[in-house]
Symmetry: D4
Subunit: 146 residues, 8 copies
């Protein structure tokens, strides 16, 4: 049974590559999709496509409309969502993607370092599974096939 | 990841061909569907199939039932909707298709000339992305795969 | 049984007053709500609240966000929707409100002059009832209580 | 028309009082509800009711289950949601409440200081209205009644 | 706890009066609504409001649009649906109302004479309760309050 | 674009064969599914599988549970529904299937002889298209591909 | 804010009375509803209303249809559900009511003795809050108003 | 037409194997999925992946989160659900899976020994078909293809 996994969250580390190679090692029949992981492209895409905007607010607004469309298309295709929170940044779009998974009945694995337990407690309580490493998250995916 | 794109809107210009050839140039794995673009056929289809109707109102009613069925089947299959408004005509079925995309959680790209900004402002605000050219719309589609 | 009726559509004539006084004459226990009918206020509300915007596009975008919020709140409360199309203007937000009523299972009465039969044919076919006068629309409302 | 407004977000400043007194000045027929604003109570409630938990993770898990139940009951009753992000903290439950409003078709006003424009851009783009002060948020509420 | 009961079905006998007086005897806090029970009015309502139609098909179409709007408004308000099938007529709108109750999660009591067991077997199997008299149907309503 | 068509309705004539051979002539990429068309099997299936039942009512109840499961599985897969009413029998399960298509957003073509116009008027008004022959219904299907 | 609480579960002890008097002591504005708590009536109601059935299976089937209708009406009205599992019996309808609360987005408090932790683990994990006494459950209800 | 069947229920007997070999004998194009049937693995999976938990309650909670994720992924893919209740154990997760099938519009076949008729009566009444053997359940699956 082929499944599609949406990898929401931090884009400044290589955790998605790790998940994909761990899944490949285990021969799991998974397709991975994710938000735009090229940070600059993600910030510039509004002006790249729609042209220069009058100020930073509108520059961001233009980019986020296109990023949100991209996310919505891919999330609609997902059977499972993994949301990883890193130690830095506000990561509110990660929180938004995780919540959308919960609200739309898509099973959610939340990955976070121990020091984020407290601020993430309400979202964590609604996730199906909370892990502190991507290795654990892949073990959860592997368990679907056991 | 194959996606189906519904191309709502104006049927008196060749914008759909442009979108399809731009997408082909970029090798995007997209299937395009659209409302009936043969205007005469779209107006005549009620009487073509159901026979002559008593007056123009019922002639239109018969045609639009069949056009709406066709749209509903194809829209149900769509992953993304592009709605293009041209400078002429009332284009209320374009507005209806765009709104149905919004209401059903299908990501929407709205394409319109600058002079329609004001009358389209409420629908535009609900679209994911608003562009002023089909080239820009295709760049948004391409971004899904980046 | 008290019902709430959302009156979508044209804001440059006094049709809402007519409907309300006809309903009052018939003692129908109806509450009427509607989009902002003060055209200038509706256009200015974005800058009134959020301050001056960088250009006309963003001025419109700011206003329409607030207008759409207002509409969504009131439409959510409505049991029936009447959408009136007049002879002028593009009236795409009327088309959007009518379509939202259809998609959300809210019964829809569409009112339009005969000369708009053809361009409105697809929306009309999905409305529950199409009338050519507000008097007829009120008779439909009255029939709910007969 | 009485409406219920859920006030999501920061609990370390008096913005909810401000909103309520501004709404009272304007005689708006609004009922306000909110997450638990007593921070200590919100953190302790799990152990207060269920007894001591084995460690901090489970202490947080117990509290958040009860907080999430409370939020879900009150959010289900809300006609409009205001989500305010302050300058400190991660505020991921604010992001979760805002996203839940979006996903459930509840109109959302997002309030944030200018310096949070960039990290909030994806959620902002999906909100109906984004303001930078609670005064503006109340003006949006007042506009529903104009 | 006040409840609204929609009484779908046959309009040529006085079964609705019986149900209402039995419920009154038992002091059940129920409000009853129903489709138009004046058969002539129900057939004429299209032409009464919209004027003469070109033929019998369109005369029926005009009437049924208005009858369906009326039903949709009242059914949306119902907490329970009773659908009574009599021995005569095709009663397909009764079947439609019963099915709509099933599809929308509104509990359904189906009342039918024994000789209709076989042709009604598929709808009956989906109803919550099937009775052969209106007295039994009222006992089911009364049981809600026991 | 492959589509699945559910053929609800009369099982005592060969209309399904006609539709399938007309569709084959036109090379339409359609898969057809339908309720059980072997009338005896459809009536006997409850006792065939579950053993003898205590009386005719329970015999019918057992059969209809299994028939309804079969219909629900196949209807869930359908992109379009055709419901044909013949001149005889009550055909209430046809009415149920047609109504379920309407309520679940599956486009519906209703086929009926002219003499059933009046009793079918409420369901007809909610169908997308009403035809009086299967040839016309196939032309509507063919139009989806034009 | 008045709320309705559905009290699912065991009917052989007086836990519902306890909850109601604890809630009254705290002046909580709650209305309580529950499944039929008279066990004999609940078993007999099918034959009481519909007459003698051919055997025990059908006697049970008749009763459960009426019990399920009653539950569905009252559960539809509930803002919160409390499901209590006792030490005896299979209590599968309690499990059904608890699951229906989860599936319909109604917040769920599950009450169970410690010795049922293991067999209830999957349902418990999906409940909002799990307590081991009704006193704790009432404290959760009280917390909504704090 | 390929279908996916979720086999909920008892994991201490070989009924799933029986169903699969009976289906293979009949050449039914079915894919079978099920909850984790290795009981020890199902109990240990939380600690296997997430490490030792502080006590038995949290050990169970960790396991059930992962089991529930697995079930949700597979159930989302299912076209039909079979739920088998055996004579032992509480089997509340079987009841939860069966109820979720009912609530999500997935056709349900319930299999149980005669002695469980009474305690299962409410869930049984909501199932599409109730059988007392897996052979009968497979006959129901086979009937979909007849």
């Amino acid at each position: 049974m082929d499944l599609t996994v949406y990898l929401a969250g931090e884009i400044h580390s290589d955790w998605r590559d790790k998940i994909q190679s761990l899944a490949a090692e285990k021969d799991l029949p998974l397709t991975f999709v994710s938000p735009q992981t090229n940070h600059d492209l993600s910030d510039d895409i509004g002006e790249n496509i729609l042209g220069e905007q009058p100020n930073k607010y509108y520059r961001d607004d233009a980019a986020s409309g296109i990023n949100n469309l991209r996310t919505q298309v891919l999330m609609n295709k997902a059977d499972v969502v993994i949301a990883l929170f890193g130690e830095e940044y506000k990561q509110w779009n990660t929180a938004m993607d995780a919540t959308t998974a919960i609200n739309n009945g898509k099973p959610l694995i939340l990955v976070r370092p121990e020091k984020l337990i407290h601020p993430l407690k309400e979202i964590s309580e609604k996730a199906n599974v909370v892990t502190s490493s991507v290795e654990q998250a892949v073990e959860v995916l592997a368990y679907i096939y056991k």
